[in-house]
Assembly symmetry: none
Homo-oligomer: 203 residues x 4
């Protein structure tokens, strides 16, 4: 679960207030004064802790990234065979998307921040690193599975890992646009297909 810190300092208070307002209205439509009001402080106070609106936005990005990665890593760390780990990683990710549609919509803003904002390169770099890390995480599981004989050895682990990570991001996007989507169920079918093979006859 993504939960508020127990005893947040004022900086963290602002990050969480910002997350709330940004995730509701989007980056552009959010005014700094909205965040200040939500946090229950004066407008100037925001600038005591963050040099700019974008700096605060980036802090929100880092906070959310940390929260999510922590859960995924914990899940994958549990000892199990590679198949089960992949399935569990997919399931927990879908669960997060399902529970936090609002927060996940911020992804769209984070991504867009890499397009023409003053922090363009900062967000681009952070996202590149973030995705490289997730791909690595998944690829390692796959390679271990291949080494241990659970998974087919004739498949490029990095390529498949990239697409698994992609699938989860893309799923969150579709869920953002369509409340009716059930990410958990979709991911479950996907895991079954991917692990067992869609084709009746393996190729």
């Amino acid at each position: 679960m993504i939960v508020a810190t127990a005893v947040p300092g004022k900086r963290q208070l602002l990050v969480e207030a910002a997350a709330e307002v940004f995730s509701t209205h989007g980056f552009t439509a959010t005014r700094v004064s909205d965040i200040a009001a939500t946090a229950g402080v004066g407008k100037g106070t925001v600038y005591e802790y963050f040099a700019s609106k974008e700096e605060l936005f980036f802090a929100v990005f880092e906070w959310i990234d940390g929260q999510i990665r922590q859960q995924v890593e914990l899940t994958i760390a549990r000892p199990a065979c590679a198949c089960d780990q992949l399935r569990a990683a997919l399931a927990v990710s879908a669960g997060i998307v399902s529970e936090h549609r609002g927060l996940f919509s911020m992804n769209l803003d984070f991504w867009a921040a890499s397009r023409g904002s003053a922090f363009e390169s900062r967000f681009t770099d952070a996202c590149r690193t973030l995705y490289a890390r997730y791909r690595q995480l998944v690829a390692d599981v796959i390679r271990r599975g291949q080494a241990e004989g659970d998974l087919r050895g004739d498949i490029d682990a990095a390529g498949v890992a990239a697409l698994i990570v992609s699938a989860l991001d893309g799923l969150a996007v579709q869920c953002w646009f369509d409340d009716a989507m059930d990410p958990v169920a979709a991911v479950d079918s996907f895991a079954t297909a991917l692990l067992g093979g869609l084709c009746r006859e393996p190729r």
Copy 2:
């Protein structure tokens, strides 16, 4: 291929100029005057054809959507077994991503336009429809494959279709952040894994 229309009217000229500038600088950082200059017309002329910057942006969205869907539909329409159709659809999509990284980065802006802009609901609705259509397209192939016996019947076609579409979107995101990614190779590995099954022993 995504190509300029042969004899564009001035409206189409503006759409294509806008696509170029938007894809280079992002929606927010693009000024209407930039687009006018790129199109070689006066700033006021833009408003003869589009009521607002966002309206023009939406027109770009529709144009690109049309271009891409056309290619995907043509690919899927070719008679083949379901497996080959899926593989071909994945390949052609990856190819488009690969060839048009710039255009694809606009996705990030389109998605973000669903967050707090004046056209919020217009983009949201359009994206919901767009994704529903792609999911349908893929799900139909899967269902046909199941009916014809090429694909396993015990799998939820809709769920898997959702994730396949997701994977392609997510892949484009990662390619935007990381020039070193090769979407075509990654998709190929993914197709092999998905169709044949990652596990050595089918489950």
Copy 3:
């Protein structure tokens, strides 16, 4: 006389409106919107012609500098002996100060602009050049007078020129603070003393 241009373009209109407002309220206390209102245009229009408040301020500086230098140069250009030229230059300068106390008060702002503003070096450079030019102008007259035998040859022309120019600036400062000062009369006494010598017995 310092007069408004006969057919000012909008840029010049703004410069003159700005000169009026700046000279009345000082740089800091002047709001860009005040200038726009005085010029009878919208706030945004100011930014069509000047990139910033300081850029406009600099344009005012250049305009006033041009106006004044023109008069001084015209005066000095009239054929006369060096003594008369110096006397005339002093007189015309005092006359300008006397007639345009308001405009001259802008000097105080121009000078202060060289202290910590974004345009610090631009104003510093411009003032350095401006004063070097005036010193040169006066020094040339003195040297000519020395060559022609009208003025004592044992005196450093550059040093005296610097102080003559200084005296006029300092006089404008005192006039700004004290309406009762009569620059014309003061300069007349000064010219007599300087040219004839304060001491009863020449040294």
Copy 4:
């Protein structure tokens, strides 16, 4: 010399810290917190001693004024003929300018403070008084010289005094803009010219 007080109270400590920061960055660009930091006290402490930034600025003005006037008065107080007193007064003033270019640059800020600041009239009044006093000082020397027969009696003492004082102020301005200027040498030439007469034949 302008030196720090031997055992400064905290108020004086702040005045001197402020003088340092103001003279370095100018009034506008100086933040109260900079002064506090330079003085080694908390920001709030400044307000225990001064009601506002401008009040502190005014205190700096008074402090510097006092320091400088003291030196000039001491110089003039030395018994000598009027000619020598004038020459000495000019020399000592040029010496101060030369040694304290930084401090003197504050003049530009003091003057500008008379333009649109909340303390406008306070600075204006103080400067008017200050200059009246200096003019009086110089005029008295001249009048004494005239009475004693050292100086020509047909010259308006007040007018000449005003320009002598002006010249020193203006000189400081030019020195601020041009490091290459040597105020001491310039003033020496000026003194010679003024006392002995620029013209070969006294008029």
